[in-house]
Amino acid sequence: RDTQQADTEHLSKWKKWRRTSSKSLKKVLGEVKGLSSYLVLWRHDIHSIEGKFGTGIQSYFSFLRFLVLLNFIIFILMFSFVTLPIIISKYGVFNSTIAYISPRIIDDICTIYEPSGDKGLVYFYTYLKDLLSGTGFLEVTHLFYGYYSIDAVWISIMRYNLPLAYLLATFAYLALSFLWIIKRSVEGFKHNLVHDADPFQSYCNKVFAGWDFCITDPHAAQLKHRSLQYELQTDLQEEKLKQKIAERSMVEKLRIYSLRVIINITVIAILSGCFYSIYRVTVFSQENSNDIDNANSQVNLLVQYLPSMVITLANFIGPLIFSFLITFEDYTPAFEIKLTLLRCVFVRLASIGVLLFSLWSQISDCDSDKCEPCGYNYKLYPCWESDVGQEMYKLMIFDFIVILAVALFVDFPRKLLVTHCSCKLIQWFGHKEFEISDNVLEIIYGQTICWIGTFFSPLLPVIATIKYFIIFYVKKIVLIHTRKPAARPIRASSSNFFFLVVLLIGLLLAFVPVGVSIARIPSSKACGPFRNFNTSWEVIPDTILEFPTGLQHVLFGMASEAFAVPFFVI
């Protein structure tokens, strides 16, 4: 400070002013940052979780918060561009009117669609059943694609092209999710790079620069001690293991490689078994739930939920089998964890893919001329987009129910049993640790369903937002009351990056079904905004043809390959 004061006496007035103004600017910025951190959702909750359970678990909760925000923004997007104009014009605000689609009189058969909205006297039970399966009264609401049979909305003198808006909003939310995830993962990636940058120095780095001098809470200090100890120990163990691997003889190597090949084949066999059963169950469920038989409505509900149950079962058993098998493969611990995780991710995301594939094979089931005039199986699926939307809705609701049920019926009783009953078997079971990777895969699975389903059911994001909001509190309560702090603290920075990478994989996977539905499969002629088009994608070329020719040329030029490829590369 003395030297600083001595310096200022020599400086000119201008520099003095600059210095004081930059100091006060820094102060103001610091205060603004402090204030704005109060506005962040759940800031206090996540902070306290970090203090008690470490940064690994905290990263799970901040990931959950990120998803809540993302879903909320997607909901706002879809709502304001798709649902809001319809609501505005229904109530005649701003002098608006609706222009309904007049179906082209090509083939009347394709346009027969009678959603069984509840008529007459209905039992309360039917409402519950409809709520759970998205049929009945829900089918004729804004929730599903089939309701949006509107060509345009006239607001005063402007014509708001609804089909175009629907399509563009879909592209917008996919692009928004993509960009936001990339932005978040870039920060994590840089951190990762730095950490792995100098393997020659990792020990020195950990020992000399390992202690964070900002820690003031003794609890957090203890956590830091434990994580440092664990990190050092794992690093040393890995080094010893690598030495052992390098010293393996030829015979041992052969044995291990052949064992690995066998186990990989087993894993692939198990996966194909799962996928095949999902396929068969979906086909069965679709065939049987279309026979509306009110007497068997409980069974009907069960049949409708059968695909979701099978998928959840596969998601539950798969990881158990994989973690059992991998112990035979003799990898380093870090690689073991990564490989098991990769396999679990594959099971979860591919099962959604298989479900959709089996749905499509049903919809486009064109042997014996079932889909002659319309291009798709119009008898069973007069409005196939709503059906796909319903499947996604059912998956989401079932996922939510399972998470709540597991929390209520597995975690709490387990804790009660372990604390009160001193029977040896139960004590060996022990308290459960918070499995971060399993929980994260669960929510990524839910988010992928949401992304795929939003095209078919525009209000799905709001359901997802509410679902994740409730899950945050449920998981937090379960964590605080039933979990013990992990004996093996996990580093947060690399896990954050990993979660985002898996989320990105889920998003890219979601692009495929949405893309195929938009571009390949003919849109339903009986419902929805794309009735007069062959496929949903056709809206865009049609609209472009209405532009002035100069603009058309520009747009075609942009779309031509010579331009598009370098554009994407950059």
């Binding site: 400070r1 730095v194 950490h195 940058a197 100098d198 020659f200 120095q201 020990y203 020195c204 780095n205 020992v207 000399f208 620069a209 390992g210 202690w211 964070d212 001098f213 900002c214 820690i215 003031t216 809470d217 003794p218 957090a220 200090a221 203890q222 001690h225 434990r226 440092l228 100890q229 050092l232 120990q233 040393l236 080094e239 010893k240």
Partner: protein, 161 residues
């Protein structure tokens, strides 16, 4: 900073805070130092007391804060870090210093220490990475060299003001 220093003094001596010395036990009650495993070393390094009781005057206190702020250069930080890690004050980091350093990092309890085999392996690795002249100890320039290439060091030495 002056306010915080005077808060550490008992009431009678607050008038003369500029020239008073705060005993070590009071310094250790500062929140930043409370949870720090190197608290004793920090007090020892920054204290200029002739009676070697590790008490700190106001200038010592200021020194400590300035080294830990984000306007200190990494040279200064690494210099002081070296002195803090040098448990036997002999000017080099030898095996015993490193062993004590690692024990401080992993915690105070019995079960939180590394086994002797692990400790051997770890110290061997550290010396391999940083000991350039292969004399079995790390001197100041070797330490500064290693630390300058470490990406975490700059962050860890910043107390938030």
């Amino acid at each position: 900073a002056y306010k915080r220093f005077s808060e550490l003094l008992p009431k009678e001596e607050r008038e003369n805070a500029c020239s008073a010395r705060v005993p070590k036990s009071q310094i250790l009650m500062l929140p930043e130092l409370r949870a720090n495993p190197f608290q004793h070393r920090i007090c020892h390094v920054f204290s200029t007391s002739e009676t070697r009781d590790d008490s700190m005057s106001f200038e010592d206190f200021l020194d400590m804060l300035s080294v830990f702020s984000d306007s200190a250069t990494s040279d200064i930080k690494s210099h002081y870090a070296f002195r803090i890690f040098d448990f036997d004050n002999d000017g080099t980091l030898d095996r015993k210093d490193l062993e004590q350093l690692v024990n401080c990092l992993t915690g105070q309890g019995e079960e939180s220490r590394l086994s002797s085999a692990e400790m051997e392996q770890l110290i061997q690795n550290i010396l391999e990475e940083s000991d350039i002249d292969k004399d079995g100890t790390i001197n100041l320039s070797e330490f500064q060299h290693v630390v300058s290439r470490s990406p975490d060091f700059a962050r860890c030495g910043d107390l938030q003001r």
